[in-house]
Amino acid sequence: MLPVIQIGPLVLQTPFLILIVGVWLGLTTSERYARHQAYDANHLSDLVLVGLVAGLLGARLSYAALQPAAFSGNLLSILSPTPTMLDPLGGLVVGILAAVIYAQRKQLPLWQTLDALTPGLAVFFIALGVANLASGEAFGATTNLPWGINLWGETRHPAQIYEILGATASAVVVYRLQLAKHWPAGVFFLGWTASTALMRVFLETFRGGSLMWPGGLRPAQIGAWLILAVVLIILGKRWQAVPAPTAPDTATIDPQVGP
C-alpha cells in the first residue's frame, strides 16, 4: 500500500495520480479505437473532457449542497483545491448528464459513441483496481486461504488484486468482441458492461468493508445484478440485428454468366 508520496512538505495522493494516469491511458486507447472505427476521435476527447470537468464541479457542488451550514459563512471554500471535498455520486450524475447533453447537441450516435468509449473504460477500471491497491480501499474479508495477505492486522483476501484481475478479464472480453467485425453497434459496450457487472456480483463476496443491508444483502451486488439483467435484455435485442449466416443461394446466379 502506498496511499501517499511525500516530497518535503508536499503530500501527493497516490490513488489520485493513478486515476489520472488511468484516465489518460483510457482516453488514448479509446481515441485509437475510434480512429480505427472511422469515428471522430476529437468528439470523443471533448465528450470525456466535458464529462470530467462537469463531474468534478458537480462533485464539489453536491458536497457543499449536502452540508450547506458548513459553507454558509465561508462560500469561497467551495473553490478550495482540497481533493477530499467531493461527493462521488453527485459528481457521477452531473458528469454523465453533461456528457449526454454534449452528445445530443453534437448529435453523436449513441451506440457507436458508447462502443468507442468502451476500451477506455476497460483500461480505467484496471487503473481503479490499482488505485485501490495503493490506497488500501476496497480491502478483502478475512480468510484462511493460502494466498491471503496480511492487511489491516489480519489475513485477508487480496480483494484489490481480484479487482485488477476481474477488470483485466473484462478488458479481454472487450478485446475478443472487437476482433469479430460483424457485431451490431453497441454490443462492444454492452458486452463489457455485462462482464463488469458479473465480476462485481462475484467479487463483492470477498470484500471486507461492503455496505450491507439487513439480511446480509450487499447493495453493490444487487445493483450489479440489476444492471446485468437490463444489459442482457438489451444485448439480446441488439443481437437480433446480426444477419444470420446463409448458405450460397443458387437462385441468384446470373444465368448469363452461370455454367
Partner: protein
Amino acid sequence: MNSYRRKWNWISAGILLLSAVWIGLTAAFAPATTGGDTPFPRVGFSAPDFDLSGLDGSTVKLSNYRGRVVFLNFWASWCPPCRAEMPAIQKLSSVYPPEQVAIFSINATNQDNLEDVQAFIVEYGLTFPVLLDIDGSVNRKYQIQALPSSFFIDAKGEIRKVVIGGPLTEAMMRAEIAQLVEELP
C-alpha cells in the same frame, strides 16, 4: 434467428439465476465486514485507543470519549500545512459544545521539541487539548505516514474519514463533523 434468440434467452436466464444464487449464498455465509470492532487506523475500523498527556499534565484516554464525535489531528510545529490548518481547527473548537465533539491535536513530539510546541500554542492561541506523543508510539499506532493527518471518529469509536496531508479547510472539517453530529442520539 428464433433459435438464436431462444438460446440467448436461456443463457441470460441461466447467468441471472446463478448470479442470484451467488448473492444469496454471500448473504448467508459471508457476512464478513469489519463492523468497526477491530482497532486499526483505517476507515471502517475502531480507532486504536491511547492514553496521552498534554502540556498541562492532564491525560486523555480516547476510549473515554465514546458517545462523542472525536476529531484527531496529528501535527508538528515545523510542518507548514499543519500551521496553515491550525487556525481553522481552533475556530472549529468553538463551534460545537465539548459534550458533542472532542477535538484533540496530537503533536509528534519525538520529531519536534517542547519549546517550539509551546511557542506554537501561544502563537495560534490554541485552547483545545494539545497532546504530546513523546515517544511516537501513538503516531506509530495510527501509522502516520505524513503530517498533518486527521481522523474523524464517530460516537461509536469507528473511524469514518481519514485525511492524509493538508491543509484542511474549515468548511471541510465542519461538513465532516456535522454529518457525524447528526448521527448522535
